[in-house]
Symmetry: C2
Subunit: 112 residues, 2 copies
C-alpha cells in the first residue's frame, strides 16, 4: 500500500521542479532507455545526468533494471497520482476564478 505522505509529495514535486528531469520522464514515456541514452540529449556530463536520474529514482518515478553493463530505466508514473490528487483539491478555485471572469466579461460595464 503506497501512502502519499508529505515526504512523498516533497520528493515528487522536487523531482518535477527541474526541466531536465521532466524532459527525461517525457522521453521514458515513449520507450525504456539506458542511462546513456537518457542522458544523450542534454548538454551536460553523463555524471550530472546520472544524478538527475537518481533523483527521479528516489521519487519512485523510475525503475531501474540492470542488464549487464546497461541500466535500463522504465517510467513509473504511479507516484504522480498523489501529486495529481493534491492539486485537484484546488481545481475548484481556478474554475471559480474563471467563472468570475466569465461573469465580468458578460457584463463588462457593470462596475464602471
Amino acid at each position: 500500500m503506497v501512502k502519499y505522505n508529505a515526504t512523498n509529495l516533497d520528493n515528487l514535486f522536487h523531482a518535477l521542479a527541474d526541466p531536465t528531469r521532466r524532459s527525461m520522464l517525457q522521453a521514458l514515456a515513449l520507450q525504456n532507455l539506458s542511462i546513456g541514452e537518457l542522458a544523450e540529449p542534454f548538454e551536460m556530463s553523463l555524471t550530472a545526468a546520472s544524478k538527475h536520474i537518481r533523483v527521479l529514482e528516489q521519487a519512485g518515478l523510475i525503475n531501474r533494471q540492470v542488464q549487464g553493463r546497461n541500466h535500463i530505466c522504465e517510467l513509473n508514473a504511479a507516484p504522480m497520482h498523489g501529486g495529481l490528487e493534491w492539486i485537484q483539491h484546488y481545481q475548484r478555485f481556478w474554475n471559480l476564478q474563471l467563472d468570475t471572469l466569465e461573469q465580468l466579461l458578460q457584463k463588462p460595464d457593470s462596475d464602471s
Copy 2:
C-alpha cells in the same frame, strides 16, 4: 494569456515541494490571511515564513493585497492548472500499470 512554460512549471513544482508551503496554501483555501496569521501555525521565525510566502507569490500562487500595515494573502490556484495538465499526460501510465496488476491478480498462477 498565461503560458505554461518550463519556468512556470519550475516555479510551481518548486513551490509545491515544501510541506510548509503546501500547508500555507491549504490554509488559504479556507480564508484569506495576513502574513502573521499565515505564519502563526509554524514553528519558525516570522522571517522564515515570510520567505516561504514570497516563494508562493513568485510562483503566482498567492496574491497580496496591502491594507495598511497588514498584507492580506489570497490563494490564486490558477498556476496549478499547468501542473495538473502536465501530470495528467502521465495518468494513462499508472492506469495501465493498475490494469496490469489487476490482470495479474485475476490469474495469479499464470506465471509460476
